[in-house]
């Protein structure tokens, strides 16, 4: 398969970037999107040109590193996948593909398609944990957890922090990410102890870092590779009201 790629190139966070067009040919329809970019980069290196910088690590949809905005969609044209799980057969031969980095003030571009997502780590540092004394791990059945809550907490914990929600949101809001993190703890007895402080601190940090607010548009849920539900956003709103009125 042959493609024309329109890729955002930017030397560093200080310099202005621009789109550059590249042709890439002989791409297997079974190769992943990242493998297709590898092919392009090998060609660029052979031509003594600067390869395109993009984030990637596990290449099996778990790490959340690969963060490309492909043809107007985070992680490209497929549901419930990350870019590494996107196959070139999802495109038509001869397609023109626009590749951009996540666009959000708290996610500045480091180079080309790589953005700095430290903002998410900063939010997690505010409350994405349970403060417990160290010691032996307790037995799994020592603290009873309703099955339904365990399942919902697990669903929320499926968030890989890739930032597709922020990228997809018209307001660059991090509400789906933060709500997933707040939910996974709020639903479990161990997390309830610090639920109020957690939601207050994480929301305050999210605001401070410059993420937008939630318009209940639902673009985040539609583009999330892990299917994190909008019900988590309702839950964080609930938790926030509870924390604020106490």
């Amino acid at each position: 398969m042959d493609f024309t790629l329109k890729i955002w190139r930017q030397k560093n966070s200080g310099e202005k970037g621009k789109f550059v067009n590249y042709k890439v040919g002989n791409v297997s329809s079974d190769s992943s999107f990242l493998e297709m970019l590898d092919v392009l980069n090998e060609e660029l290196i052979l031509k003594n040109e600067e390869p395109v910088a993009f984030d990637h690590d596990c290449r099996e949809g778990i790490c959340g590193c690969c963060s490309l905005y492909i043809n107007g969609r985070p992680h490209g044209p497929d549901e419930l996948i990350t870019v590494c799980q996107l196959h070139m057969r999802k495109f038509k031969d001869g397609d023109s593909i626009v590749i951009e980095p996540w666009r959000a003030r708290p996610f500045p571009v480091i180079k080309d398609l790589i953005v700095d997502r430290t903002a998410f780590d900063k939010i997690l540092m505010e409350g994405g944990f349970v403060s417990v004394n160290t010691g032996n791990a307790p037995d799994a059945h020592a603290v009873p957890v309703p099955k339904q809550n365990a399942d919902l907490a697990f669903d929320a914990a499926a968030c890989i922090g890739c930032g597709a929600c922020v990228a997809a949101c018209k307001n660059a809001s991090a509400m789906l990410f933060v709500s997933a993190k707040v939910s996974q703890f709020a639903l479990l007895p161990q997390g309830r102890v610090e639920a109020k402080e957690r939601v207050r601190a994480m929301v305050a940090k999210m605001d401070e870092l410059g993420f937008g607010s939630c318009s209940n548009t639902g673009a985040c849920e539609a583009e999330c590779p892990k299917g994190i539900s909008l019900t988590n956003i309702a839950r964080i709103n609930r938790e926030f009201i509870k924390a604020g009125s106490a």
């Binding site: 666009r103 929301v203 607010s213």
Partner: protein, 223 residues
């Protein structure tokens, strides 16, 4: 509590609360206006309008209403500005994902409603309260402002009717998202209740907009 209404979620909760308050107000407003086309005589409308304009309790609520409008608009603008600032560089290519369509255009529909609001206040409210010159009518020996006549005269003008109907449609778009979105902002999410709320939002929006559109149409095409 001090930081509650300055936080992103707090601001949205305030906006949602005020929005629901305005949604209730619209129903009252529509109910009184419909008196104009339900009855042959303008008397019931004029008496109701007189009550709304003179009752002490309603007068207090009028202040709350103006405050509600101002806060909803102010907070809406602040939230929108912050949202725009959150994405300084926009995407070159966008894709219409499967999202609530009207939620993306709340600020646009809001601007149209805002402009309408100013014109609407000049058309009726300020005429009665400040400018004077509203004709009077005697009902059962008591003198009332004939606000009904004011409405009839306004809605005999074609472009006024078109402008009002145009705005009502955009008000409907605003309500379609606003109604159900307010409940999500309050954290209300329920397997059976949420679909009911969403359906109620659609029914409310359609009924209120149809009601408001009906009034100028009936007056314009009536005698």
């Amino acid at each position: 509590m001090t930081n509650f209404f300055t936080s992103s979620i707090g601001k949205k909760i305030l906006m949602a609360g005020l929005g629901l308050f305005l949604i209730v107000f619209l129903l009252v407003h529509l109910g009184i206006n419909l008196l104009l086309i339900i009855f042959e005589s303008r008397d019931p409308f004029n008496i109701a309008a007189h009550f709304m304009g003179t009752n002490v309790l309603i007068k207090i609520f009028e202040l709350v209403l103006f405050g509600g409008f101002l806060l909803h608009i102010t907070y809406g603008l602040i939230v929108q500005m912050q949202n725009w600032i959150a994405r300084p560089v926009s995407y070159a290519k966008t894709h219409p994902s499967q999202t609530s369509f009207f939620s993306k255009y709340m600020i646009h529909t809001a601007v149209i409603i805002g402009i309408f609001l100013v014109i609407h206040l000049f058309d009726f409210y300020l005429q009665a309260k400040i400018f004077g010159g509203v004709p009077e009518v005697v009902i059962d020996g008591k003198t009332y402002h004939d606000l009904g006549l004011l409405v009839f005269e306004k809605f005999k003008i074609g472009w006024v009717v078109i402008f009002y109907i145009f705005t009502f449609i955009f008000l409907g778009f605003h309500l379609l998202h606003g109604f159900q979105s307010a409940f999500q902002t309050f954290g209300l999410d329920h397997r059976t209740l949420t679909p009911v709320i969403k359906a109620s939002g659609v029914i409310y929006s359609v009924v209120v907009v149809a009601g408001f559109i009906l009034i100028p149409l009936v007056i314009y095409f009536g005698n």
